[in-house]
């Protein structure tokens, strides 16, 4: 059940993001100072912000940025983490020691702060934000993959492959990595909630997508000063972040249950 709920929200968000131009009632940058700070109503379902831009439309376009970052980060980090973890777990000895210590170093540092440092060094912008988040997000996958490969290393089908003459590299790539994939996928879904928050955090601090691009974190930042009288400007993007994070959590949770019995 949780899988379905989580998945439906994620899919809905993805569809909204993809079809943004068709679905958003207004352009994300369409300013109308006469309509600034309007309450949610029939013309603007979620109200307008300080420049008169429709918040709903900005949320929909903002979903593109957020989901885009999430997708890019996953595509980069999961394979790297998977490879590092499987190599460490299978070969053991000094290879494992070295790789895992490197992983530990990255794990020990607080993610948001490290991402901030990288963005500060590389400069603000979506691409750099993705890079920064990716650099701090790969270690958990390495851990998960290593744990799986440690048990698989002693499996008899691995022995059979070794005996047939398969090289270590072949065994890791063709035999071990495919089996570690489910755990990594589960971890990925759970992690995405964190990625969304970091991306929003960077955006909030002005280090992610730059204005006038609609980005949920940045929307909260600019809506901050109007919180008392015009709560929707900051609250709506906040709710969007919360809902999407929750959706990914549910998805990951449900996936873990769904994939587990099969693995057994």
């Amino acid at each position: 059940m949780t899988v379905k709920l989580g998945a439906s929200i994620v899919v809905l968000a993805a569809l909204l993001a993809l079809a943004a131009p068709l679905l958003a009632p207004y352009g994300p940058d369409a300013q109308s100072l006469a309509d600034r700070l309007q309450q949610p109503g029939s013309a603007h379902w979620l109200g307008t912000d300080e420049l008169g831009r429709d918040i709903l439309s900005r949320l929909i376009y903002g979903a593109r940025v957020t989901l885009g970052i999430v997708a890019l980060v996953s595509v980069v980090t999961a394979p790297i983490g998977l490879l590092v973890g499987c190599v460490a777990g299978y070969f053991g000895s000094w290879v494992e020691a070295v790789l895992m210590r490197v992983t530990d170093v990255f794990l020990a540092l607080p993610r948001l702060i490290l991402a901030l440092a990288f963005v500060a060094a590389l400069g603000p912008g979506i691409v750099n934000a993705v890079l920064a988040i990716a650099i701090v997000s790969w270690p958990p996958y390495a851990r998960v993959a290593r744990a799986e490969s440690l048990t698989l290393r002693h499996a008899e089908f691995i022995d059979a492959a070794r005996l047939a003459g398969a090289s270590g590299g072949r065994i890791v790539l063709r035999h071990i990595m495919p089996l570690c994939l489910p755990s990594v996928i589960v971890r990925m879904s759970l992690d995405m909630a964190g990625v969304i928050l970091i991306a929003a955090g960077l955006g909030f601090l002005g280090l992610g997508a730059q204005p006038p691009t609609a980005e949920w974190g940045a929307m909260i930042a600019s809506g901050r000063q109007y919180m008392l009288d015009h709560w929707w400007v900051a609250a709506m993007p906040g709710i969007a972040i919360a809902v999407l994070s929750l959706a990914f959590n549910l998805l990951g949770d449900g996936l873990r249950d769904w994939l587990d019995p099969k693995q057994r």
Partner: protein, 246 residues
């Protein structure tokens, strides 16, 4: 085929094989019987090159062996493992599992060889696309045997190949092994905890206890219980089965 002298092997700090020496001639079938902890499986893995922590002299197929095996070792020696549920990759089809040794060693004509191998073990091409969890224990073991024969090895090592199987399936697999042995010119070394299994298939057998070989007998003597060593006699008695007191 095999000349082993003073083989000793360890698992961490424990010595599990002590000073074992034996010989297996070309084309001969040799059994190793022992209970759990006797070191028989470790000995087999040392021969296969799967266990690194060993010392002594080992010559297989005329070549002296050290810790690593050469890449084409798999063309000479092959192994069938105990657990039919664990010896096949859970995400690979039967065809993929059978193709692996061929791909690794660069042997061509893969499809034809796969079909021939399946026929040899009493399965048919319908099984090519099955996954291990769709096969019974006996079928999995047949696939494992087919896989071990793909590279036409000269020596086949078997680690308790029927322990995890039902009695009737065990009988089938043993019949299959007998047939394979007749049709091909190979040496066999089979390890088992069951005296009956070893005596059924093999010409000579070694009894292992606590890491050492305590006695080596012919199969005929094994069946009759013509054993000298005390432990071997005890094992023989236990293998006859339980007799009720009352």
């Amino acid at each position: 085929m095999i000349e082993a002298r003073d083989i000793a092997a360890r698992h961490g700090d424990n010595t599990v094989v002590r000073g074992v020496s034996f010989e297996v001639a070309d084309g001969e079938s040799f059994g190793v019987v022992g209970e759990s902890g006797s070191g028989k499986s470790t000995l087999l893995r040392v021969i296969a090159g799967l266990h690194r922590d060993w010392s002594g002299e080992l010559t297989v197929a005329g070549e002296k062996q050290r810790s690593d095996r050469k890449r084409d070792f798999g063309r000479v020696v092959s192994m069938v493992f105990q657990d039919p549920y664990g010896s096949l990759h859970p995400r690979q089809t039967v065809a993929r599992a059978l193709a692996e040794p061929l791909i690794v060693q660069g042997v061509g004509d893969i499809d034809a060889r796969i079909d021939a191998a399946l026929r040899d073990v009493g399965l048919d091409s319908a099984h090519r696309t099955r996954y291990p969890h769709q096969l019974s224990g006996g079928q999995r073991q047949r696939v494992a045997i087919a896989r071990s024969l793909m590279l036409e090895p000269k020596l086949l090592l078997l680690d308790e190949p029927t322990s995890a199987l039902d009695a009737s399936v065990q009988a089938d697999i043993l019949a299959l092994l007998r047939r394979v042995r007749e049709e091909r010119d190979m040496s066999f070394v089979l390890v088992s905890h069951s005296l009956a299994v070893v005596a059924a298939l093999f010409e000579r057998a070694a009894v292992m206890h606590d890491g050492s070989v305590v006695e080596t007998v012919s199969a005929a003597d094994l069946r009759r219980g013509n054993l000298h060593d005390a432990y071997a006699r005890e094992l023989f008695a236990a293998s006859r089965g339980f007799r009720r007191a009352g």
